[in-house]
Symmetry: C2
Subunit: 411 residues, 2 copies
Amino acid sequence: MSAARPQHAPLNQFPVQDDALLIGGIPLPRLAQRVGQTPFFAYDRAAMTQRVAELRKHLPPSVHLHYAMKANPMPAVVQHMATLVDGLDVASAGELKTALDTTMPPSRISFAGPGKRDAELSVAIAAGIVLNLESEGEMERAAVIGRQLGIQPQVAVRVNPDFELKSSGMKMGGGPKQFGVDAERVPAMLRRIAALELDFHGFHIFSGSQNLKAAAIQEAHDKTFALAARLAQDAPRALRLLNIGGGFGIPYFPGEERLDLQAVGSHLHEVLAQYMPQMPAAQVVIELGRYLVGEAGVYVTRIIDRKESRGQVYLVTDGGLHHQLAASGNFGQVIRKNYPVVIGNRVKGGERETVSVVGPLCTPLDLLADQMELARAQPGDLVAVLQSGAYGRSASPSAFLSHPDAVEVLI
Amino acid sequence: MSAARPQHAPLNQFPVQDDALLIGGIPLPRLAQRVGQTPFFAYDRAAMTQRVAELRKHLPPSVHLHYAMKANPMPAVVQHMATLVDGLDVASAGELKTALDTTMPPSRISFAGPGKRDAELSVAIAAGIVLNLESEGEMERAAVIGRQLGIQPQVAVRVNPDFELKSSGMKMGGGPKQFGVDAERVPAMLRRIAALELDFHGFHIFSGSQNLKAAAIQEAHDKTFALAARLAQDAPRALRLLNIGGGFGIPYFPGEERLDLQAVGSHLHEVLAQYMPQMPAAQVVIELGRYLVGEAGVYVTRIIDRKESRGQVYLVTDGGLHHQLAASGNFGQVIRKNYPVVIGNRVKGGERETVSVVGPLCTPLDLLADQMELARAQPGDLVAVLQSGAYGRSASPSAFLSHPDAVEVLI
């Protein structure tokens, strides 16, 4: 039966020893004891390091790699990532605070987000980071605040491109959008930036996220560089920064295949060779969040009850959608599919069976695995949801039904 | 154009004065000043009081009304509701703590939820509240813990009925489910409850939620009482409690019409007349969350930016899906529809226009109103999302992108 069904892509980031997952080299049952509670998120430091190294191997050496903190803002994770990457991208004043607590120089920190409040602009300008301006209105406010502070704002323009990233989990460019400034309005904005004496760095052109198709990313890279080269002609000074976004996806669901990084990287070499002579001073930046940390994390819950109802087995755990909303299928998904899930202390197991894994909440939405084949498990066993390093705890309604929060550990 | 489109049901819970919403009698701009920040949730005490009074008018006087705290666990709201209703239902030890801080007697507090941990069972048994047992395994654990504590557990059996509530937003009964014990297994469980010397109160039969069709609720009431009467024959003692759940919906989306409470109430009179002679000692309980508080609340955000992109207007606010996930369409909805939204300080306005209201997050999911007709608004104006009194702040990923939390006030 399962031979015909789409399967999850092979995941090898965590070895298995004595049939238990090893996270950061620690068998999962031992790790649960060390954490002292379930549920928890565990993030593997070495898996992040390895992922960055793999990217460096394929990407042109001149390209900078930034970490988009929104994927996982745990301070320890950000501290670790700051030692690996060339810059950080923040999406709020809260994230900025965490970023400034690292050793990353402010000039390598950028701030994007469509609704920056005056108080956020003020701290960002005072910190000397690069503001990705999302609208003409934000530009004007930044200029006023800069004058009030007596500090010249460092700015880039976030461009809403006139194309979109095809086959994307999230389209963030093309057509009308709340993000950035329509490409066709950018030349006028650049003249105003010069008049306002803002320190112009360059462009942020981000067309989508969670993409697994190398061809789509290659095409977006072509169009992004062409657009940047065109817009650069109207810039008040030579481009120093070109943030081409990210969009690299990771496989979550059955049938999804891993992004061909080699293909993306080799194409980027060609694109750079073609366009960089026109923008020789521009630092090209790829900004990734999920791709750097998503596969390095696991969400671990303990089975509280094993029950049967009309022929189906339910494993009821102490964790659920209040910590891992996306795995329940309730965050941006149209059709619910299963994340990769294993019994973490009994990965292969003896007997196997088809079960549903549910959480403790009084809602049928609280579903971590729907009719999935797992090792036969009992109360006390640990359910591990893989691919949980990004958009997990911080993107989930932790206060829902007033259950305890999930602990996060970096190993 | 809009004449042909489905409209939101008329909402009159908040009067309008000088074109501003009045919440608890306070004009919204003044309220925002009093709160001292946006975004915030404001809940209107009088609207809750009035809703309970309306229910009492239609429901048979012998029926008890319980408040399901999961809809809105703000302690001040729970304190107020405790003065209005006959009991509270909790879904976790966290909610239980808030419930026990009211004057509600423990015997009027019940605890449902499929994954109760031992520590939760222990505090519940010690508190003397009624445990709605969700499985045979939970029954056995409760018995062990009761013996350890030297306290007889007060229990009811949550039944997974052999029918479902038709046309429900959430089906929670019928077929295989993680909730409760299949009706056909209840007789054996009742014998075991007697053997374990648990203090048996009755049944909790809950078939669905957020239902706007009186006929569907009437049918569920028929079947619920028939099932309870049948199961009561195997009970170790006369039924003292019959919690028939709730399921009463409120209108959120265009085209939805208000539940006909009169029809539900008058049918319930008939059902009671038919079945109560068989269960004369049973206290019938209707447990409602959303229906009691959902319409009494509003989520208020301030416009930070007004921008245009390729012919569309975006109002970018300081609040969004991190506080009001359901309004963004990302919580249990298949097709995104707009909640009722108004410019709270300019309800009718002069000029009107079609706009999208988005939040500050770097994701296209952060959408509070999609192409909706509103009064023409500017930065500084207040966007009010109505029907936000239930499953708002506590059901949203407040840590997402590390923006400030929303304040809650009860007026």
